[in-house]
């Protein structure tokens, strides 16, 4: 048996999972080979480290820490309102509508500012004004709260 074979079988040897005459041959080689003896020491330490990690236990206040996290406002349980909301396609639709309308609003504001400098402000017809206001008002006051209520009421 050469050093490479001994090294490659060391983990199994220390585990006691080698069969046949291998354990005896490993033992004989290690007894007469300093380099394999040193490697055995290293592997024993690694094994001890695994055993040490296996016996470690978490902090005794683990439950208290978890409870603290649950009690924090943002740590709402999934069976509550928000996660159900997050899983709903309506939620994503509302987000997209909100983002688009915000973009339109910002674009108009910016456009208005720029055109104020360059040319007279465009005059919105009463109908356009109403449409714009309704659009934003609808989204802010109505859609989202209704959406939340609807989702929460679903079985």
């Amino acid at each position: 048996m050469n050093c490479q074979e001994v090294n490659e079988n060391m983990l199994a040897y220390l585990e006691g999972s080698l069969g046949g005459d291998l354990p005896g041959r490993m033992k004989d080689h290690i007894e007469t080979c300093d380099s394999c003896k040193a490697f055995q020491v290293f592997m024993l330490q690694v094994n001890l480290q695994i055993e040490d990690e296996k016996t470690r236990v978490p902090n005794p206040f683990l439950y208290t820490r978890i409870q603290e996290k649950i009690d924090r406002k943002h740590e709402l349980p999934v069976h509550g309102l928000y996660p159900r909301l997050l899983r709903s396609p309506l939620y994503y639709a509302a987000v997209i509508i909100f983002a688009v309308s915000l973009g339109v609003f910002a674009g108009r504001q910016l456009g208005g500012l720029m055109s104020n400098q360059a040319s007279p402000a465009p005059v919105l017809t009463e109908q356009e004004k109403l449409k714009q206001e309704f659009y934003l008002q609808n989204l802010e006051n109505d859609d989202i709260s209704q959406l939340i209520n609807n989702i929460d009421q679903k079985p």
Binding site: M10, F39, V46, Q49, E53, V57, R65, I70, V78, H79
Partner: protein
């Protein structure tokens, strides 16, 4: 069988927001979850954080647990997923630190593992051994890591591991065998690199 009924009862009570039931579940399974996390992460504070996250996840999603698998199987799966995600985050962080080091010539905060003269027969520090293990185990492919940790740290049977990993018993057997062979090779390489 009795244990499974108890677990089902526990789940039902947690779903009804009974705090005492949740506390009981944490106390009953915390060592098991922590051991699995530590087997993958090899860092006690990090394993504790992930253990907390595992139970938070259980608390949040308890109403989705249908009882098709054992409660422990579900817990193992959450623990494995969260630990693997943490390992990925650590990997990313390491890459950024390397980049930071490269761009700004900063020295890394954590010192690289250094194994002193091994022929000296000096026992290695716990931290150094943890780093050796982390380096060796984390080099294994993901499924070999999982199988190895469940077999070696949690001492589960191949059948139990196959349930957790959703695979056959023979696949688990092969995964554990390959994990051990590869781990041995990795450890030989690490050992040689410090000679």
């Amino acid at each position: 069988m009795v244990q499974e009924i108890l677990d089902q009862d526990l789940i039902a009570r947690i779903a009804r927001n009974e705090q005492e039931a949740f506390r009981y579940l944490v106390e009953k399974y915390k060592d098991m979850v922590f051991r699995t996390c530590l087997g993958l992460l090899h860092d006690t504070p990090e394993a504790e954080d992930i253990t907390q996250d595992v139970f938070l996840e259980v608390y949040r999603s308890v109403s989705f647990f249908r009882g098709e698998s054992k409660l422990s199987t579900w817990l193992y799966r959450i623990a494995i997923n969260k630990s693997l995600n943490q390992m990925k985050r650590n990997q990313k962080k390491k890459s950024w630190l390397r980049l930071d080091e490269l761009v700004f010539s900063r020295k890394p905060e954590k010192k690289e593992i250094s194994i002193p003269d091994l022929n000296n027969s000096q026992p290695l520090e716990r931290e150094e051994l943890g780093a050796v293990l982390r380096k060796a185990i984390n080099e294994l492919p993901e499924n070999q890591q999982i199988a190895f940790v469940l077999a070696k740290y949690d001492e589960l049977s191949y059948k139990e591991i196959s349930d957790i990993m959703n695979t056959s018993v023979s696949s688990v057997e092969s995964l554990v065998h390959r994990a051990k062979t590869n781990l041995q090779k990795m450890l030989i390489n690490i050992y040689k690199s410090y000679q």
